[in-house]
């Protein structure tokens, strides 16, 4: 039996700044995970990933990242994604400093 599809968001790094971005439902790249479109259907995920990957003048390294939906907002399920949405732990730099 195929594994059940877990909720995902589309994420990448912005072309110029290189910082982490997430694809929103209305096709914007947002800096905030909470604005990301949560995808729960595998076929829809594939199409969204293809479309997002073709926007190569905007974002780099587009992929699907697992999330868990808590109180209606997506949260990372892996510590790597937690660091990506927060920033490094040795300095208050990156997303955490941008508010």
């Amino acid at each position: 039996m195929p594994r059940p599809f877990t909720p995902k968001v589309i994420t990448a790094n912005a072309l110029i700044e290189g910082d982490v971005v997430y694809l929103t439902e209305d096709d914007r790249w947002s800096r905030a995970l909470k604005e990301a479109e949560v995808i729960t259907d595998e076929a829809h995920a594939e199409v969204r990933l293809l479309d997002a990957s073709s926007r190569h003048a905007e974002a780099v390294g587009v992929y699907l990242a697992d999330v868990a939906v808590k109180d209606g907002t997506p949260e990372p399920t892996h510590f790597r994604e937690e660091f990506r949405r927060t920033g490094p732990s040795n300095y208050f730099h990156g997303k955490q400093a941008e508010g």
């Binding site: 700044e17 910082d19 982490v20 190569h56 003048a57 732990s89 040795n90 730099h93």
Partner: protein, 554 residues
């Protein structure tokens, strides 16, 4: 140090112009990321977790004050005010914008620095002994040889697409301070029957299959160096595996084919290549050598130094740990620790870089070095300048007296920055250093090298740490494995895994049990951790790490 010729300047300007145009084409959409990636990697530009990263080469770790000031300028103008010195004698900027990088490269070119071949499957920055030209035990300054190799390998048309990256290190002293046996090629200047030459090691490397380099040529006459290196790299270029990234380094090529076969192929190729060099390489070396002449050392009185040493205990402590023997008795080699307790190993702010540059200019004949252990060296300091130098360093947070001690930890950037990492390194280093500072034990513990990598690629050299720590992802949780008994010097050895890994919460207490427990195991205060480990074997150290296993067995 080496001064660029018109040829060098024109070459670098042209490369920077090309890269600027490539960046423009990437930004306007005419290049895709797949097309652009190999171009950016050739110029040291990575994309990491939170941003781009620019890796700048510091050839054989040598800088002058103008170059250090320029590194500070880059940190402040285009980054977040600091830079990270790496285990490869490079500096990394963690936050540049892609659109700013061409300007950063032009600024570097103003002081003869660049980021060429700091990434990609090419011959990387040539590294060397950070005490080169100053150490009391030196046979010959390795830097002219390293510079010759830099010039030969830079933009070498045959070696731009090797099976995998290729690292060369050069030393000129019997004490190996550059970990040459962990390099694809290690070049060691030696003497035989009154003749200078090189002992050539090949096939070393850390990563997922750690191996120590093997001697492929016991004695190579000096004039044969470049054709011999070219022979090794071209044999590797043909034979090295391109089917599997994890088996592509020359260490695997040597392992799979055997040293004898590699040696035969290299000698055969060398016979063909030797005549093609026609002596031009030796003419270039002859032009390079005088540029590395020792500074015009002044005589230094040592009275003020000795008085300060007797009267000021913090100065004495710093001298005892951070000073190494210079080849002149009235001079000293100063290691400036970038490992203040609780800070990020290898990081320096722009202000700190500028202070180190000023001190080098004022007191140290304008010379600085970066060590693979992520510290900054002033190689030539007259002893009478030491008290003043120490005060100035201390005022800038650079006076930590811990070189070679438990808190002088090598740590890769780990998952705080690196896209390849499987766990964090920096916080573990910070916590270990902070903990041992609280215990006030590190001077009693003495010589101990802890090295931390945040993934199997081993940028943090964990295999050659007396205590190595490897961060892994175990089912979505950070987990840290300990290796024991590694050594990166002339008595090199690869550490052995101690047992099951520890969680992020357990790793620092485990290290504390291990190190504090060693104090009871050693014969006397002169027996280092590594010596005790070699005398006793792994078992008593494992018992310290895993007390519950011992209890179960009892």
């Amino acid at each position: 140090m080496y001064s660029y010729t018109d040829f060098d300047r024109a070459f670098l300007a042209e490369r920077n112009r090309q890269f600027r145009a490539q960046v423009e084409r990437r930004i306007d959409g005419s290049l895709t990321e797949d097309e652009f990636k190999p171009l950016r990697l050739m110029n040291g530009v990575y994309l990491q977790l939170h941003a781009y990263m620019l890796r700048v080469a510091i050839p054989y770790g040598t800088l002058n004050s103008a170059q250090m000031r320029q590194l500070a300028l880059l940190a402040e103008k285009w980054d977040k005010g600091y830079g990270h010195f790496t285990t490869r004698q490079n500096i990394q900027y963690n936050w540049p914008k892609l659109s700013d990088i061409p300007d950063m490269l032009d600024a570097l070119a103003e002081v003869n620095l660049h980021a060429i071949q700091t990434s990609g499957n090419t011959i990387r920055n040539v590294t060397s002994d950070h005490f080169a030209g100053a150490a009391a035990d030196e046979v010959e300054d390795p830097r002219p040889t390293a510079e010759l190799i830099r010039q030969w390998s830079t933009d070498h048309p045959e070696f731009q697409f090797l099976p995998r990256k290729f690292k060369i290190a050069v030393i000129g002293a019997p004490n190996d301070r550059a970990v040459i046996k962990s390099h694809d090629i290690g070049v060691e200047i030696t003497e035989q029957d009154g003749q200078r030459g090189y002992r050539i090691h090949v096939g070393g490397g850390l990563g997922r299959t750690p191996m120590l380099g093997k001697v492929v040529r016991e004695f190579l006459p000096k004039a044969d160096l470049l054709p011999y290196l070219e022979a090794i790299v071209s044999v590797y270029n043909l034979l090295g595996r391109r089917d599997n990234k994890y088996k592509a380094r020359i260490k695997i090529t040597v392992h799979e084919n055997g040293l004898e076969k590699i040696r035969d192929l290299v000698e055969e190729r060398f016979d063909l290549l030797k005549s093609q060099f026609g002596g031009v390489d030796q003419e270039m070396l002859a032009a390079i050598e005088p540029q590395f002449a020792a500074p015009d050392f002044r005589d230094a009185a040592t009275g003020a130094f000795e008085a300060a040493y007797s009267n000021d205990p913090t100065f004495r402590s710093w001298v005892d740990t951070n000073i190494a023997a210079h080849r002149r008795a009235d001079h000293a080699i100063v290691s400036i620790s970038l490992k203040a307790h609780g800070k990020t190993p290898g990081d320096a702010t722009g202000a700190q870089m500028r202070v180190m540059a000023d001190l080098a200019e004022e007191h140290a004949y304008d010379e600085l070095r970066i060590s693979h252990e992520q510290n900054v060296i002033l190689p030539h300091v007259p002893k009478d300048a030491l008290p003043q130098l120490y005060r100035a360093l201390k005022a800038e947070g650079l006076g930590t007296a811990n070189i070679g001690l438990v808190s002088d930890i090598i740590a890769c950037p780990g998952m705080d920055y690196c896209a390849l990492a499987t766990a964090r390194s920096i916080p573990i280093a910070q916590e270990i250093a902070t903990r041992f500072d609280e215990l006030k034990l590190e001077h009693e513990i003495g010589d101990l090298k802890i090295k931390i990598s945040g993934c199997i690629n081993a940028c943090g050299h964990h295999h050659v740490g007396h205590i190595g720590i490897l961060g892994l992802d175990r089912a979505g949780v950070e987990n840290y494995q300990i290796t024991l008994g590694g050594d990166g010097t002339e008595t090199a050895s690869i550490g052995t895994r101690a047992g099951p890994g520890f969680s992020a919460d357990e790793i620092v207490p485990a290290i504390e049990r291990l190190v504090v427990g060693y104090l009871d195991l050693r014969n006397d205060a002169d027996e280092t951790f590594l010596q005790a480990y070699r005398r006793l074997g792994a078992e008593p150290f494992k018992a310290l790490l895993y007390p519950e296993a011992r209890e179960k067995a009892a």
